[in-house]
Subunit: 340 residues, 2 copies
């Protein structure tokens, strides 16, 4: 089993490979201060590098070279960063990766526009990759379109529920939401894309998607928990999810278990984003502790990690043992251990 | 020469052809009320249909059939409607085509997300068009990427100037701005794409772009003038451009010609969007009248129409006379005559 340190070292390696290749697709055109500088901001802030690592390692596990998949990884990173810009506007988030969000720095209008320009670049690396066959490229373009479709569907559900104050949300709804909003573009699509490239389109994708789904849920639950962890190095605002009224697993559990008085207070808290104070957010956290919501999320996360571990052999049944497979296996535990 | 009525009838015909073909690319998925319903809203409101008409007629003028180009026209309309959603957020516009804008109806977050989902569909019609050769499709995808690039560059300039209160803008800057922000995706790209399809990629595009550029400038100046025209059926807020502080040709002229006292008042007016009252906007309009800014814009628009007419023969030198060419020629005058 790979240690958290080894996993992080490999993540950094794949991330660096992708970042270098991304450089040529982030032009320094005009207007620089109103557009191209903004497009380069988030990609330059770094990140966990989970998406490129899953994509490149999956390609290698299926017999390909990392260089075969790097254009696709760059495209997915460009799309990811475009999503982040728009998500931050939609969520009204102040902080991203330890710095003010793009719309805080430049205003909503210019940030939104820069996100559009960045998203439009997502297919360029694939189109420029002369070594890739047209048939494979077409399959990958379909994967990109699916990613945007699933992600915007999940995002719509999340935003719609929050806007309308939908409170009768069960853990099953959380799974459906996170499946679309997070899993698809964070874990499922990278694993699928890597497998498609590495196997020249022959890999069976159903079991890979299944593994990616559990891995992504483990990732999302960990994300929910890091939001309330003072020690985390996430680079977002502390208790940001609570302040934004996000349907985290902790909030869902709390709404289902709180006594009528506490629930009524929570409903009022959730009714208007603009009235939520820091001490209100701290009280929500305290209630989450009191009602066992934190423990519930931890144990739910552990179950997802177990499910990911259980579905791993089926996903990679067709390929031999390798260091790449071992790295992917190590990422399962890493999902639960990561500090950012 | 085609009359305005005939031009409108042909516009409606091309528009209807495109709208029917667009139906299958606007799925009724879930979540409907938070996403798919929003994606269908603007396309269902109708529009002038200038883009599909230019694209389809250009294809026909170059010897193709309208059916060869309809997938591309649908893609461009999807992209156009995605732009409109995001533009309305960026400009904080309340009205679009006689109804509240999408973000007014559903909130900024859900509208922004629906725009992303719509933009991601733009290449789907092209990809589904089995009759098109891969080589031609690749050329058209490049055109789409260029469109987004030029349009976001122009939009960035416009938004950046407004945010920073940039006032030393000359008519030449206006031409550069409108060239990117409007001409490329309203006139230049449709004409180019149609010519590429109709000629199987052999058409010389430089002179077509040149014609499209003048035609687009005539369109934009007319748009600026319709904003201040009470009788217009534009379906936006009256004096919306003035309220938003847009760098219309009228405002640029006024800033260049107003006496120091009037200019100082204008500078203050432009400094804070939130303080602009209806009577302030009416006063700006009055100043535009007093200083001849309206007349200046009308005569500038007439010059662009002349330039479009002058560049028309060169653009279509390679093709014979036809009803399609005649329709395109008629659109030159239509740009100046249109009431919406």
């Amino acid at each position: 089993m790979t240690s958290a340190g080894e996993a992080e070292a490999s993540l950094a390696k794949y991330s660096e490979l992708t970042r270098r290749a991304m450089e040529q697709f982030l032009p320094a055109g005009q207007p620089f201060e109103y557009l191209y500088e903004l497009m380069r901001d988030y990609p330059g802030r770094g990140g966990k590098g989970i998406r490129p690592a899953l994509l490149l390692a999956s390609c290698e596990a299926f017999g390909g070279r990392a260089s075969d998949a790097v254009a696709t990884a760059v495209g997915l990173e460009l799309l990811h960063n475009a999503f982040l810009i728009h998500d931050d506007i939609e969520d009204n988030s102040p902080i991203r990766r330890h710095r003010p969000t793009l719309h805080e720095l430049h205003g909503t209008a210019l940030a939104l526009n820069a996100g559009d320009a960045l998203a439009a670049l997502a297919l360029q690396p694939l189109r420029a990759d002369a070594a890739m066959s047209p048939r494979l490229r077409e399959r990958l373009v379909s994967e990109f379109v699916s990613v945007v479709r699933k992600t915007t569907e999940g995002q719509a559900l999340d935003l719609g529920w929050r806007r309308d104050g939908v409170l009768d949300v069960a853990p099953m709804d959380y799974i459906a939401l996170a499946g679309k909003k997070t899993c698809w573009y964070t874990t499922v699509a990278p694993l699928r894309m890597g497998a498609i490239i590495g196997s020249h389109g022959t890999a069976a994708l159903r079991d890979i998607s299944r593994f990616g789904f559990f891995l992504g849920l483990a990732f999302q639950v960990r994300d929910d928990l890091l939001d309330i962890d003072e020690q985390s190095a996430q680079g977002k605002s502390p208790l940001g999810d609570i302040r934004e009224g996000k349907h985290t697993l902790l909030l869902i559990h709390l709404l289902l278990t709180a006594n009528p008085a506490h629930r009524a207070w929570l409903v009022e808290f959730l009714a208007d984003e603009n009235l939520r104070t820091a001490s209100d957010c701290a009280r929500v956290l305290q209630l989450m502790d009191t009602y066992g919501s934190i423990e519930f999320a931890k144990s739910f996360g552990a179950e997802m990690v177990d499910a990911a571990r259980g579905s791993f052999p089926g996903a990679f049944a067709a390929v031999p043992e390798s260091e790449h497979l071992n790295f992917l296996r190590g990422l399962i535990d890493f999902m639960q251990l990561r500090r950012k």
